[in-house]
Amino acid sequence: MTSRRQFLKTMGGVTLLTIVPRNVLGKGMIAPSDEITKGIIGVGGMGRSHFPYDNTRVAAICDVDKNHLAQAASMLKDKVNEYHDFRDLILDKNVDIVHIATPPHWHGIMSVEAAKAGKDIFCEKPMTRTIGEGIRVREAIAQYGNIFRLNTWFRFDSNFYGLGSTVKPLKKLVDSGMLGWPLKFTISKHTGFDWKFYWVGKNHLEPQPVPSELDYDMWLGPAPHKPYNAHRVHSTFRGYWDYDGGGLGDMGQHYIDPVQYLLGKDDTAPVKVEVDAPQQHPDAVGTWRSITYTYEDGCQIVLWGDEYGDPNTPYISGPNGNVYKNFVCDIPNWEKKLAEFPEPAEQNTNFLESVRTRQKFALNEINGHRSCTIVNMGLVALQLNRTLEFDPVNEMFINDEEANRYINQPMRAPWSI
């Protein structure tokens, strides 16, 4: 990949990109001569891992926990602007890209606010906690024209868990049609994926005093107010429906997003979700045995929790062949046959280049929202403990008003999206 310096060097005599001071360009515009800067909201465990992402400089950080903020600041070499209220970070003129590394119940609001402020966005998974918030983020990005990157990367980079390979060759195999159609993907321990059931909540939390370093009200934000208990916040929040959805919330988009890409279904969603699970506690996320998604054309994604499911099951199963964990394919001589097909189209995987050329990043608010929708469909079905049918065009559940109430959930005033 060309570095910024080389890029400018090769541009040598071309007069197009004159060096312009940032203030002339207006808010949000990246002066090409400038180093690209980022502001990180939420600098607990996940947010700190955003410090080194890409070749950008941290210009500002924000957290509602004073200890987190101080610790994070001490880890950075240079002095940065420190904020308590994310809205101040978003309006900071020194920030080009807003990184959102908070719990998921904030992702939607923060993305929309950052979009309105003309910032580009680098958002942690899962993209949003409800389908409705995802729609709103997608609309806002379309309205304000920002570049949005969702932070899971397996559709274009890194070895994909149980597959033991990148997704690219698998995409080629699926596109070749050699496996036939429709396809069934099984995501379970046996195919190399762990649903992390240790993210379960506790059923009855005793109220505790709020620690002085934490602004609990701001931490909760749009979520319903519930008495403070340390288990609700920081590293254990995933166990509560108000903020996330347990292991499915945590890992779901990592595991499911590449499947959407492989199936070529980035512009749609399954039409049905079925769950097999114990009834969930209204507050604490529990475990489940299986969740099955079915698309209109019969393709399926089956999630097996924990040790459930057939240990011999393939990762992908099609009418003409199967692919097992570690990329074991049972089609004779498949590698040779496959080579006759072109490589999958190149994806825009350099976020900074997307920021410069305004071309969509490979995983953006549109396909990211679709794969997050699948996670959220599962979470709704789990909470209602019943089969739901979904209309991917209107993005609503069919004939199920109760389920539809989960699509747009009320927010604690004054927050709205």
């Binding site: 309105k116 024209g145 190149e346 050329t357 004054p414």
Partner: protein, 1129 residues
Amino acid sequence: MNQIKYIILSLCLLFAVGAEAQLAKGRTNSTIIADALAQLPADNQQQYNIVIADLVSTGEEGLLDLIGRMNPPGEVSNEAYEFAISGWSHFVSKDDAKRTVAANAYEKALNKTLDKEIKAFIIRQLRTVGSDDNVEILSGYLSDDYLSGAASAALTSVGTEKAGAALLSALTASNSEQINLHLVNALGQIKFNTAEPVLLNLLSSNPSSKMEGVLLSAISKIGGKESIRPLRNAAEKADLAYGKNSAVDSYIELLGRLGSSETRTVKREADRLLSRAKKQNKSELKIAATKVLLQQPKANASKILKGVIKDGDIRYLTNVLNAFPFENDKKSVELIKKTISSNKSQDVQTSLIYWLGTNKSTGSASLITPYLNSNNKMVLKAATQSLSKIGGEDAIIALAGLLKSSDDETVTLAKNALMSIDGDISYTLASVFESSGDTGKKAILEIISSRILESQYNLVYNQMFSDNNAVKAAAANTLKYIVVDENLNDMFTLLEQSDAEYVPAIQESINAALKNLSDEDKTKVVSERINKSNKKHLYYRALAGIGSADAIEQITEAYNKETGTNRDAAFTALASVNAFEAIYPVIDIARSTTNKSELEKVTNALISIIRRSNQTGEIKYLYLREAMQFAQNDTQKSTILNLLGNTGQYPAMIYVAKYMDDTAVSEAAALAAMNIALSNAAFASEETTAILNKVSKTLTNPDAGYQRQSINKYLSENSAEGGYVSLFNGENLDGWKGLVGNPITRSKMNARELATAQVKANKQMALDWKVEDGMIVFDGKGYDNLCTEKQYGDFEILIDWKLYPGPEPDAGLYLRGTPQVQIWDTARVDVGAQVGSGGLYNNQQHPSKPLKVADQRVGDWNTFKIRMIGERVTVWLNGELVTDNVVLENFWDRSQPIFPVEQIELQAHGSKVAYRDIYIKEIARPEPFKLSDEEKAEGFRILFDGTNLDEWIGNKNDYTVESGNIVLYPPTTGSGGNLYTSDEFDNFIFRFEFMLTPGANNGLGIRTPSSGDAAYSGMELQILDNDAPIYANLEKYQYHGSVYGVIPAKRGALKPMGEWNYQEVIADGDNIKITLNGTVILDGNIREASKNGTIDGKEHPGLLNKTGSIGFLGHGSKVKFKNIRVKEL
């Protein structure tokens, strides 16, 4: 739709069943509620449906009762009530009648004095079941500081006109800002247009900034024409800058909403906004305003687009192009096509080229092609990517032309585009090859590799004779992707003639070309070639690639025979064999050398073979542990620790934990130990706790804080009690003793005799058994086993063992003092050892051979996991199941079952054997069943208390004792036998519990001889899953409980599948009475019933027997029984 009908239907059925159950049992509401609460939260959907349906059957009275039980917050947990109530709400939300009942109950509850938190909880229920009818009561809370939030959320869910009116009137009446925030928010969310004037009024009366924000966003959702000016003013007040109070985006949202109804006004506003945005150079505002304009019904898209293009802002243009489907507008498409050549801005060009690539309209390719000459890399990239998407011959030719460029970056862009373009590119690629520079040639070779263009084999092969070394190297690396078996001779020749630097690549291509031959042909082709060659070492890698046992042997032989480079080549080849079997020669090399650099190489080879292999965690653990002994540096040690951490083995955890004391690898050791422990709750033990505590102190990596939290979570959730304990301390034989006789002879000795014999046995033990290097080694003569001092009942044991080469290697493990889980050398075919180790060697009735051979070589370590519960034994050898829940027969007295408790013994069989790492976990036995005081007083006696079959005779093979139950497994042949009481009974009360499997069939024989068909030679009372579809056409006298063929029983009292049934049988003279789960299902007189012949028309000669056994009559299905007792009358 069908799905939904089905759900509703099944819900109706559930209600019906619930109601019937209630009537049948005559339970009161409070009993139903108590029963339900005890079962919440439910374990599964089925249970949930039953429990909640049961609850719902109690109606309003029940729901009010439940609400009344809720405790004020902070005192006692309301968890079960919350589940019950919210479960109720969800359950009835689709059923209008029941939903109203619930909503009414909530209304009534709200009218009572309740704690505020509880009230809020009830109001939240109305979010699910509330309707227009509840608006009034909800409105009552809109003025309450604490409850207004919940109430307005509930009204939002109701969402009707009336709800809106209530919210609005509350807003007019309220003075509290806190409350108004909720109300305004709610009005906006339900889009209650009537509120517009009120909201506008509030907006104009100088609201706080918080309030202003909520107002603006609500107005944007409901406002009409009147709202435009105030929202514009607010936006202007904010200087058209996006900010906290959402002024700008509210204004834009409003314009968007009104775009089609207030066409002219909105257009005027948006135009004005656009020109302001242009002046201030605010891209995001320009985009938003343009979008409003484009979305208007009669928008002139091309004209608007023209303006956007003229603006020249790439961000603005790209986003407008992305957001709006111009491809449907002819004029716009024309405009784009025209602009692309006329506009000089490279930003504009880039944006339009990307658009053309995405929208693929005709003629796009020829429009884009000229830009392949652009000096601007941004434009060039857009052009190559877009052409790649469009595809077609022209695009291929144009892109291939770029490969001739002298600019590296240009070539790379072309290469990426050609890799993914659709169509046949091979001819075009070949045609530009000669005229391309080195970079271009290399790129072409890369494309050939990536798309496996076998047709270009000659082109690539010819480069191997080129003088251009850079291209030659690239070609060498390309060969392996495109060679086929026909090219093998070419490759062999190249291999022997080429310079050393190209040899590895050519070797790889030989392996690739061999791939499609059969194993036999591969070996043949390569061997023939080796025999003719005087550069044999060049072919070792091909042998390694074949990976067959024969090939491995040839390489090993070469390694032992050759010297220098040839020996090195053989070693490299061995290490690269992609078959686990290569580990044996490699480990032999390791064991035979002390040369440090050789050991370092060998260790790397071992690591790579183990890492690549698909072996079980157990096997990986065994060899990694050995590899550790050869490791020469900290990197190797860390790698091995890291890999051990992924094996999931308890002994591996104990092993790696020791390395936490070695500073250089302590972090790796701590992580490995943690990984093993945390992924297995069954590993919790005192030792594990100690290790994890040490891990917590040792970890220093950036994630250590989170890891420590996970450790604490594990320790708090998994009790160390009852975990594995070590049976061998590695130093001496504490806890072990010598062997005296056998369990039966020992039981006949008195204490003094036993003590004397033990002293003698211990002396012998000291001669035969030694502790060396952390192993227990037997190297003596004779057959004196090493025995645990402690006795064990049910347990799981882990143990590593190793046989040594020598005559007749043989050993084993005695469980409960009884031979044995077999260990032997599989080469001993004369004694049948080829079946492998891990079988129950002395069994005669039950399987004695293992299910598969899972042994490692003699001289290598193996590991057992053995589980013994009741009389059954399961053995895993090196992670493979070899003995599956098989009864261990009593070798010392075959007429009795295995001893319930006895010592464990390591067998000595005259040959040298070593054991190490012995861990045992005791498994608690179920408490024996005891009679209630009542039954005791009435004179009942127990026939089965969960522990043994002492009172029973008959088929004790298929009827086994497990977890306190008698379990009848379906036998592999026949219909399964019968199990009878050894005593006979005439008149009696017999009580027992049974659990069926779907479709199960069994029978209870009474007054029956202990052989023959009890249905005729005695009396059979049916035990049957008579609701199973397979029994749809049953005769009545076959229903569960019927006196078979004689008196029918009532159907319908069986519990759902998976639950225990409780049955009482009273046989008093000719009267038989059966009560199942509290329902009398049969009460009849056999003499009366058979007076004029039986209903099945068959002879029942034993029907009127005076006395006989009671027995279970197997019919080939799995059934469980427990708690069996009888009282004689």
